[in-house]
């Protein structure tokens, strides 16, 4: 048994016709950690997760999940993994309680402990007031808490969460993540896909996918330290004019506006990034202040997911 990793995938690929939704993906997810999965829309996050839990058959490659070979013996895995789908997939015309009961029955949770386990989950995921409410009528955040409660009910060793916090307010997201950390401390391995940078920063490790290809992999700190990009922050009175002045520079890989500030990425191949930006601004007659900044995860994301033509800059 490969004791250290909950998931090990080699050359995992999924093709839909000509589309390579996932392309030769290698993954190593350490046990007991929260592993983030980042990527733009359509980059293959859901497809990868579905392959890992045996819902989709890989076109090529294979994986070992909790010591079980995929796709061959996916069925043996079911009792040991919890999967939270991107789209709400519980029964809208049943109450919160009925959904939890159904899940406990379908996973053959020990009959004598069912009630206690469900009560515990209702409290833990703050659903006690909704217990008799139809699941379909709940708010987005409540639905996601219920989905998580159902995914963890049978105490799985591995949790696969596909964008569990889309449509959840910041406070609820913090609570949601507190729950994830608690689960990880209890020894559960969690793989979670997300679009939120603040969530990505909380992960122990993360992988970034772009068009089916893994473009970065490591701890958030490691990724930030190895972007291969200078980051210049520009504070301008007229950010729009500043953006026009630097956007088309050959050296500039990308410009992102954040309020009155611009974050400019320039490849590390260029030695004096600050001078490049400042001279362009001066030439355009834009008054602005530029400073060297350090890369955030968002910068990493922008840097690794841009097209090859931009990267060549």
């Amino acid at each position: 048994m490969n004791g250290d990793y909950a998931i090990e995938a080699q050359g995992l690929s999924k093709h839909f016709g000509n589309l390579k939704a996932v392309d030769s993906l290698d993954l190593k997810v350490p046990r007991g950690q929260i592993y983030g999965f980042l990527g733009p829309n359509g980059s293959g996050k859901s497809t990868t997760i579905r392959m890992l839990c045996g819902l989709l058959t890989p076109t090529e490659g294979s994986a070992t999940v909790l010591g079980t070979h995929i796709p061959g013996r996916a069925r043996d895995l079911r009792p040991r993994i919890g999967y939270m789908t991107q789209k709400f997939s519980l029964f809208g015309d049943m109450t919160v309680l009925e959904n939890l009961q159904f899940i406990s029955e379908i996973y053959s949770y020990p009959r004598t402990d069912r009630k206690a386990r469900i009560e515990e989950l209702l409290v833990r995921y703050d659903l006690t007031e909704q217990r008799r409410q139809m699941a379909g009528t709940m708010s987005g955040g409540q639905k996601q808490r219920l989905a998580l409660a159902c995914a963890v009910l049978h105490k799985p060793n591995l949790l696969l969460l596909d964008e569990p916090t889309s449509a959840v307010d910041p406070q609820s997201r913090r609570d949601f993540w507190a729950n994830l950390f608690r689960l990880a401390e209890g020894g559960t391995t969690i793989m979670v896909s997300t679009h939120y940078m603040d969530e990505a920063e909380r992960c122990h490790r993360l992988a970034i996918l772009d068009r089916g290809v893994k473009v970065a992999d490591g701890t958030p700190q490691h990724l930030q330290a190895t972007t291969g990009m200078h980051v210049i922050e520009v504070l301008a009175e007229d950010p729009y004019a500043a953006q026009s002045a630097i956007h088309d520079l050959a050296e500039v890989a990308s410009v992102t506006q954040l309020g009155v500030r611009l974050r400019v990425l320039i490849s590390e191949r260029f030695d004096q990034p600050l001078e490049i930006v400042e001279s362009a601004l001066t030439r355009a007659g834009v008054r602005a202040e530029s400073i060297i900044s350090s890369a955030t995860l968002e910068d990493v994301f922008v840097a690794v997911t841009m097209g090859p033509e931009e990267r060549a800059a």
Binding site: R50, C53, G54, L55, L56, T57, R75, R78, P79, I81, Y83, T85, K87, F88, S89, L90, F91, G92, D93, M94, E98, F102, I103, E105, I106, Y107, S108, C150
Partner: protein, 365 residues
């Protein structure tokens, strides 16, 4: 290994959702009642009271007696009088009448002569049933004199063939049982799995330890019970309103019913595995529904259909079930005398269920 507790969980969930779905729940019991009322009252092959007019140019006692005899059959009701055949034709064209009876001035002589027809019946041939009714009129005897001297011309005992009690429902209800069960059973199951596919529930379900067989059987079981309830309902209403008898064994009828329900549910599941949306499932159901209604012997006598139609009819489970119900209910036949039809239903179930379970892989691709 099938786990009974997991299957039980699926069954309970299905029942719970069904109970909450007011519309479907209403359909389960409302549909059979509405159908049986509709078919029982509206579809009546013994046509009566067709509007008719007479142009009696003879106006003799014999001709008047003939007109009275025609009206006495109750097949037609004379709503108007005309002078000439042309007037009758005009009435036909306007749709005021379906049948015109023209009696020429020399009616009495023609009756005796018999080389020329004594009466002309003008029929609205655009409706085939009216044509059929007109044929009955041909058989109305024309009689001379009265009392013991009565002498009938063109004697064919029409009245013996006529069903004065208007017993169409007796023939319709056993067939209707097949049609109603087919509609509800097939539609419910065809939609059952696709609905979960559409709502996304299936992605969750197939990630749980539940197996394909547990899921299939669990989903279908509640509907078997519903089907048997519907069967009882149809029998009860048929009995109460139309006095439809069950001359054979009720147990035999229920056994045949169970086999038919199983066959239809398996077919529904098979459809469910072949389509992607509920709408497609509906279309497929209708696609099978139409031939089942038309070619099963429910609407038209089976033996009278063209070869190809008969062949298609033989494949459809409904055909065999209708033979079973008519046999058991009307002719007091036992299931043993009807074994081939029963075995066909069992065989159909096994084949359809197997294909459905094989087709339903617990995967998304």
């Amino acid at each position: 290994m099938i786990s009974l507790s997991r299957m039980g969980a699926i069954i309970r969930k299905e029942v719970r959702q069904l109970r909450r779905d007011r519309l479907t729940f209403g359909m389960v019991f409302g549909l059979p009642i509405i159908q049986i009322l509709l078919f029982g009252y509206a579809i009546n092959t013994d046509v009566r009271n067709l509007h008719a007019a007479v142009a009696d140019q003879a106006n003799t006692s014999l001709s008047r007696e003939f007109v009275a005899d025609v009206e006495a059959t109750q097949v037609v009701r004379f709503v108007d009088q005309a002078e000439t055949p042309a007037e009758l034709e005009a009435m036909l064209r306007r749709g005021d009448i379906s049948i015109g009876v023209f009696i020429p001035p020399d009616f009495d002589r023609r009756v005796v002569d018999q080389t020329r027809s004594a009466v002309h019946v003008l029929v609205d041939g655009s409706d085939p049933t009216v044509l059929g009714v007109a044929a009955q009129l041909r058989n109305v005897p024309v009689q001379f004199g009265s009392g013991s001297q009565r002498q009938a011309v063109e004697l064919i005992e029409t009245r013996a063939y006529y069903n004065p009690e208007r017993r169409t429902p007796v023939n319709i209800v056993p067939g209707l049982m097949g049609v109603i069960l087919m509609m509800t059973m097939m539609l419910f199951t065809a939609v059952a799995i696709v609905r979960e596919k559409e709502r996304g529930n299936l992605e969750l379900l197939i990630n749980t330890p539940v197996s394909s067989a547990e899921l299939m059987i669990g989903k279908v079981t509640p509907y078997v019970l519903i089907g048997l309830l519907q069967l009882g309902l149809i029998l009860g209403v048929g009995r109460l309103l139309f006095d439809v008898p069950v001359r054979g064994s009720v147990l035999d009828l229920y056994i045949a019913g169970t086999a038919f329900i199983a066959a239809k549910l398996s077919l529904g599941l098979l459809i469910s595995t072949a389509v992607r949306t509920q709408f497609q499932a509906m279309q497929m159901t209708v696609f099978i529904l139409m031939p089942s209604i038309l070619l099963s012997g429910f609407m038209f006598p089976f033996a009278g259909m063209p070869q190809v139609a008969q062949f298609i009819g033989e494949v459809l489970p409904t055909t065999h079930f209708i033979r079973l119900t008519r046999g058991i209910m009307l002719r007091d036949a036992s299931l043993f005398e009807l074994t081939p039809d029963f075995l066909y239903l069992v065989g159909f179930t096994v084949v359809a269920m197997t294909i459905a379970a094989l087709r339903f892989t617990k995967r998304l691709d």
